[in-house]
């Protein structure tokens, strides 16, 4: 990928096939870890989706099944201390950043052992120690927080890189482009990732998004911009690592549009009428990120059937345990509900 540090936008948009797959490094254990993370995410999301349908997740959730490669590729392209800020659909990023599945599941339930004590929920997961600067309920907002993280990194010179995520739907929200522009002109260590899964709720993004592609749109804001096959974890990891290296070297932000797909509806239980079952099957059968990556590892002699079974079993056990923790965790203490709002006002204790 280009590391052009010209202010002008550079758009390289090879079709995923034309570019060809990135070379597979020979590090079997590491790559099996990646696959393990992807299986973990897949298992988590399928389980949580089912639980949501049974009313276990107050307010429901937005499953990311099908988008596992994006999350794992990003997390594996970063260093410790780097930051990810997500969207409303970001369990996969939380798990890829290694938030404990127990804590994530308990948070979805709204329980005391949740990553945020039950205050956050599915759309508002955070773990600052692990570099997850929040998933976010507002379209485009996570990218803004990542932008600020990148600014903080540049002010404090702490060497960290921030990844800000948004969806194809977020490409039409004005704030997104303010964020991209500011990162570009301030040359911030930011990697902007558009997780393009073709739909925003029930709206086909093509129908409401002018221009050829989100990546091309981004190029107009003066930063290198690329499309990436989001169903290929290695392609994602390579692109993110290159962008992060570039950012860390002081050369500024990069824009990555990742082409991906969500298998489920917008939210758990959504009745899907806006796309064909065939389209879904196409993506699942020919471009499933878990299948593709395990096949590739198998072909390269880096994964045996036993190892695959073992990873899948481990994912199953981990998630079963997470469900048990979430089920058994107590509710948070209601008397804490209005606390820790702000040091300025907590002492005030307004009556009601």
């Amino acid at each position: 990928m280009s590391t052009d540090d010209d202010q002008a936008g550079v758009l390289t948009a090879p079709a995923p096939s034309a570019a060809g797959p990135a070379d597979l490094p020979a590090d079997g254990p590491a790559l099996r870890d990646w696959l393990g993370d992807m299986l973990l995410i897949r298992t988590f999301e399928e389980t949580a989706d089912g639980l949501a349908l049974r009313g276990k997740v107050p307010g429901g959730m937005h499953p990311a099944i099908g988008q596992e490669a994006v999350a794992v590729g990003i997390a594996r392209g970063l260093r410790d201390g780097d930051v990810v800020a997500g969207t409303h659909r970001s369990h996969h990023h939380a798990l890829a950043k290694h938030l404990p599945p127990d804590a994530v599941m308990a948070e979805l339930y709204g329980k005391r052992d949740g990553a945020n004590g039950g205050r956050g929920g599915s759309m508002h997961l955070a773990d600052f120690d692990r570099g997850l600067w929040g998933t976010n309920g507002i379209v485009g907002a996570g990218l803004g927080i990542a932008l600020g993280g990148a600014l903080g990194s540049s002010i404090l010179r702490n060497g960290s890189v921030a990844v800000g995520l948004f969806g194809d739907g977020g490409a039409n929200t004005g704030r997104t482009w303010e964020f991209v522009n500011l990162a570009a002109v301030w040359n911030l260590p930011l990697v902007v990732v558009c997780e393009n899964n073709l739909y925003a709720v029930e709206t086909a993004s093509k129908s409401v998004t002018g221009g050829t592609s989100v990546a091309e749109r981004a190029a107009g804001f003066g930063l290198p911009s690329h499309q990436v096959d989001g169903q290929d974890v290695l392609a994602v990891q390579v692109a993110v690592r290159a962008a992060a290296d570039r950012a860390r070297s002081g050369a500024g932000p990069t824009f990555l549009e990742m082409l991906t797909y969500r298998y489920k509806g917008h939210n758990s239980g959504e009745v899907v009428r806006y796309r064909t079952e065939d389209e879904v099957l196409q993506w699942r059968s020919s471009r499933d990120p878990v299948e593709r990556f395990s096949a590739r590892l198998t072909d390269a002699g880096l994964l045996t059937p036993e190892q695959l079974t073992d990873l899948a079993d481990r994912a199953r056990r981990t998630i079963d345990h997470a469900v048990t923790v979430a089920e058994e965790s107590p509710w948070p203490d209601p008397s804490t509900a209005a606390g820790n709002v702000s040091a300025w006002s907590d002492s005030q204790g307004y009556t009601r």
């Binding site: 107050p58 307010g59 429901g60 948070e107 709204g110 329980k111 949740g114 945020n116 004590g117 039950g118 205050r119 956050g120 929920g121 599915s122 759309m123 508002h124 976010n136 309920g137 507002i138 379209v139 907002a141 739907g169 977020g170 039409n172 929200t173 004005g174 704030r175 925003a200 709720v201 029930e202 709206t203 129908s207 409401v208 998004t209 009428r273 806006y274 509710w331 948070p332 209601p334 008397s335 804490t336 509900a337 209005a338 709002v341 006002s345 005030q348 307004y350 009556t351 009601r352």
Partner: protein, 340 residues
């Protein structure tokens, strides 16, 4: 006369919208996920097929553009309804709503017949989807803010909004989406700016709106068994506020409680108390009490959400206390704080 039709909060809106779109070809709706999905609260379910893509317009996620295009289309002579789905998303269009829609008549003498609809009120969904924007909007001259409780008022207020001249923010409480009740006919309008006495009573007035009305009615029922006769005022419109109805009721009962789920500090309850203080002070036997949401963001966990909101118990207790208290309760300890 036949009995009025029954419907839900949401189908009453649909029916009102359908009738108005049939009556007036310039009425149209824009927002995300309206045509196929019918909106996140079924609010325009079935209208897509009926009126086509031009009049049930799916937009990108561009709240500023949604409201701005509504403002301009209204100036052009059309009657746009901008559907934001969730009221919180108005944060992306505050300038368009406050600096443009609300001020154009004042600056330029040209009315802006715009309706901005959104679901709101505290429910599940976490901190960012459960903001209470009502005070912020009440304090904006030029905006009317309606917040119906009954299906009847949803339909009637929508019709008034769509036949009026000026911008109306149409707030609908999420928790009432499926609530049932009678619904008026094609020409039964509910005037904007008029509260209603939801339940007459003689001992104490509860002033509230939206979801609070149901709570207040339940509290009134409980208390009627205890010999306390509660009058419930459903504001229906928050701006302009129907001062006369509120003040009239309090002058009759001499006691009042305001129930409001918005955060405590500077919420709508404050204005209602100030209004009562302005206009009914000498009629009060007791200070007006307020039962509001805690001054806190809304969390995810249901047990935490419940802990923050006015619930039936607190309302019953407070109303009973206000209704039965005799004479002054002095608490001189607090005065000391002022010495610094």
């Amino acid at each position: 006369m036949s009995a009025p039709e029954q419907g839900t909060y949401s189908t009453a809106y649909q029916a009102g919208m359908r009738e108005e779109m049939e009556r007036d070809a310039t009425v149209f709706v824009l927002g995300t996920d309206l045509y196929d999905r019918g909106g996140h609260f079924s609010q325009v379910n079935g209208l897509g097929e009926r009126f086509g893509h031009d009049r049930i317009r799916d937009t990108p996620i561009s709240e500023a553009a949604m409201v701005a295009s509504g403002v301009g289309a209204a100036l052009a002579g059309a009657r746009p309804v901008v559907d934001l789905n969730f009221m919180d998303f108005a944060y992306g269009a505050m300038d368009e709503l406050i600096n443009q829609a609300a001020k154009i008549r004042y600056m330029w003498g040209r009315p802006v017949p715009l309706v901005v609809r959104a679901s709101t009120g505290v429910a599940q969904g976490g901190a960012q989807h459960n903001n209470s924007l009502q005070t912020a909007l009440m304090n904006v001259p030029g905006l009317a803010v309606v917040y119906p409780y009954r299906p009847w008022d949803v339909k009637g207020l929508l019709k008034s909004a769509l036949r009026g001249e000026d911008p109306v923010v149409f707030m609908m409480h999420k928790m009432l989406t499926g609530a049932r009740g009678p619904v008026g006919g094609p020409d039964e309008l509910v005037p904007i700016g008029r509260a209603r006495i939801a339940r007459p009573g003689t001992d104490v007035t509860v002033v509230t709106y939206g979801y609070g009305v149901g709570l207040a009615e339940k509290a009134a029922e409980t208390l009627s068994g205890q010999g306390v006769d509660v009058e419930v005022v459903d504001l229906r419109t928050l701006a302009p506020l129907d001062v006369d109805t509120v003040v009239g009721s309090v002058r009759r009962t001499g006691r009042a409680v305001v129930v409001d789920e918005a955060p405590h500090l500077a919420g709508p309850a404050a204005e209602i108390i100030a209004t009562i203080s302005d206009r009914a002070f000498w009629y009060l036997d007791q200070p007006v009490a307020r039962v509001t949401g805690a001054h806190s963001p809304i969390p995810h966990s249901p047990v935490l959400v419940d802990a923050l909101l006015p619930d039936l118990d607190v309302i019953v207790r407070t109303v009973r206390d206000v209704a039965t208290a005799q004479g002054p309760v002095l608490d001189p300890a607090v005065g000391a704080g002022a010495a610094r």
